[in-house]
């Protein structure tokens, strides 16, 4: 019995080392430890009110506006280069019948309005969040980020980083169909 107790430390240790080695190997092969899914997954979208950006841009919305159908919420900024890269995909989604709301993250009125004028405005509504207060509620770590919200207003998926064509096909569309069920 006593012998067994004395062996426990080394057994626990070997288990820890084994797990750490596997994780280190995965990190070496491109696992990104900083991507942590939102704590909001499976929870209701935060009901914080986002003001409109400017008079000529449809906008202002709050979490409860997102109930009743599957919606997408996209976080963008005019200063964010990857946001521009994903903009064609966002526009494609909009023209194919997916309503997209936007959180304009840490931006200013003139830059954001010009950006939308120049690259097109695919959004149903744009909410202005210059201080990132609403983004904090939504658990946004950086731009761009995209949320899928089902008809009961529950966040079912969150994508961090730009939506490329591949990601659109392999992740976003399947997740949108899942959310519809």
């Amino acid at each position: 019995m006593k012998r067994f107790i004395l062996i426990i430390p080394i057994i626990v240790f070997i288990i820890i080392i084994a797990v750490l080695s596997v994780m280190t190997l995965q990190t070496k092969e491109g696992r990104n430890p900083s991507i942590v899914p939102s704590a909001l997954l499976g929870k209701e979208a935060p009901n914080i009110e986002l003001p409109m950006l400017a008079r000529n841009i449809p906008g202002g919305f709050k979490g409860s506006d997102l109930v009743g159908r599957v919606n997408i919420v996209n976080v963008f900024s005019s200063w964010c280069v990857p946001c521009l890269a994903e903009h064609p995909q966002i526009s494609w989604l909009a023209t194919n019948g997916f309503p997209i709301y936007a959180i304009n993250h840490r931006d200013n009125v003139s830059d954001a309005s010009n950006w939308l004028k120049k690259h097109g405005n695919p959004y149903v509504a744009v909410g202005f969040d210059p201080e990132g207060r609403a983004s904090l509620e939504w658990g946004v770590g950086g731009v761009p980020e995209t949320f899928i919200i089902n008809a009961s207003g529950i966040i079912t998926y969150k994508h961090i980083g730009p939506i490329t064509k591949e990601i659109l096909k392999e992740k976003i569309l399947p997740k949108l169909h899942e959310a519809k069920r």
Binding site: L6, I10, F13, I14, L25, V36
Partner: protein, 658 residues
Amino acid sequence: MIPEIGLFVLFLALIIAAIQAVVPMVGAVRQDVYLMALGNRLAVIQFFLVTISFTSLIYAFVISDFSLLIVYNNSHSLKPLLYKISGVWGNHEGSMLLWVLILSMFGAALAIWGKNISPTLKARVLSVQSMIGVAFLAFILFTSNPFLRLNPVPSDGRGLNPVLQDPGLAFHPPLLYLGYVGFSMAFSFAVAALIEGKIDDKWGRWVRPWALAAWVFLTAGIALGSWWAYYELGWGGWWFWDPVENASFIPWLLGTALLHSSVVVEKREGFKNWTVLLAILTFSMSLLGTFLVRSGILTSVHTFATDPERGLFILLILFVTIGGALGLFAIRAPIIKNNFKFAPVSRESALLYNNLFLTIGCAIVLLGTLYPLFLEFASNGESKVSIGPPYFNITFLPIMIPLVAAIAVGPMLSWKRGVIGELYVKLLFAAGSCLITIFIVLILVPEGPILAACSMGLAAWIAAGCLIEWASRIRLFNSKSITNTGRLIKSSKSANGMTLAHLGIAILIVGITGASAWQKEITTSMAIGETIKVNNYSLTLKKVQIGKGPNYNLERGTFSLIKSNNSSIIMHPERRYFPVARQATTEAAIKTTLLADFYLVIGESRDTIDNKNEWTVRFYINPMMFWLWLGVATMVLGGLLSLSDRRRGISIPVRKKA
């Protein structure tokens, strides 16, 4: 030429370390006095060689020798001298060299000062210490060579991460490493004792000063790191339960347990196996901490240089070092006999209780730190979580309350068999102080929370308990008061050190309670001339100036903070932009008073709709922050006082048998 010398002597150091790892051990087995004594010389030579290597690296940084890759990547000719020097360990390669320097320094210190330690044990300790040295020297030379040259030579460097351009970097990592690596001595003593198969009171007396020194350094290192994060990150907080912070806190908890359990070995020849295990585990956790910081498998706000490739190498070192030690423990521990009994109420029980709670606390922090990795592993990458302050507050704090509450009682108990009855009056007095404190706090801060008042009461209970125990030890209240001063001087420094360190905990609790329960935080945006009100204070943004530092541009706000009684202070928070690194840092303006810190951060400016300039401003009132730092400083002082006890000094005179 000088970097080549640095590299060459590092190779020599590896060879010397390899010899030192074998020769004294063989000497101890053969009882060969000459071979054993050779260990001392080799340890000093090894230290000397690593010092030369380290100095040559510092030299390369000071003269901005950009032909070295490490200098090019981490320095810049415009950087102030202090940051050129501290930049040496602000990166992976240099910090590992510092690690090895400290490791060999401890070996040399034992060789020079450990004159009274039995020669065979000392020879074995030096061997084990050098085995660790071989592993890390090989690690540096084969995966992290700091002396790599660049061709062609760049005209200027890429600069040091701006967050690291702070006096904090000059002191925090060296102190932390002195603590981490200091526990290698306890580890080597433990492994040497297992090899020798003999652990007695002398072993306890020899290992304790090393463990205590490491504990003092680690405590100071963690506190300095926390202070640095407090003023540099600009988040208003001082502890974030971040993996890297936990990585230093885990060995601290075990090291604290080790300090307490080794007393039992020293005084009563008890808890021998347990103390040996603790010594092994404490250093193991230091190594694990090094691994977690270096490998980048966890995310952290403090990780600056990560590389999974090197992480694997460190893991290999961990596997061999700790696996070997724990394997040895499993095999050899049964032969170490414990012939030791104590009553349920006794100093031994109190120390057992201390160890139990510290170990559980440590397990909780370790679990919280590694759990995200284990979950990700078990679910094959599907589920990921991050574990933050809520987990630790719910699980760790409840374990710490019974632990710290016992500080008032433990030192009053006598060895072998204590009598509760004797403590009755003393404890009644401490309980009285506790209740009075709760009462006073509730009157002063009627809005609560009640838990904060209780926590202040806990601090009073501990402090009262410590002071009563100290007073009765030096017989403060006995009639012949003239002899008291003499008694105070004679009363052992190590016992006074203990009292001081325990008082430090009480003061620390005051600080932690104030800063966490009563903190006020306001985040808003302000235009020039605007005023906000927080509690009894009004804060006005007077102006924002634009200026230039040695290697950065800055925006400097001028705020006036006016109290209700019209006393006002001016505060200057800064936002610095480093063009070389294209990165901004915040310099919080902190005004410290006895009762609260006023902490002000100025953020980015932005245009509002009507084209006015506004700045994001975060303002914190952190009550009792000063006491938090004072508490840790008192703990460190207590440790130093105890360390200065000549009976326990590094070279211990042989104690006469009573």
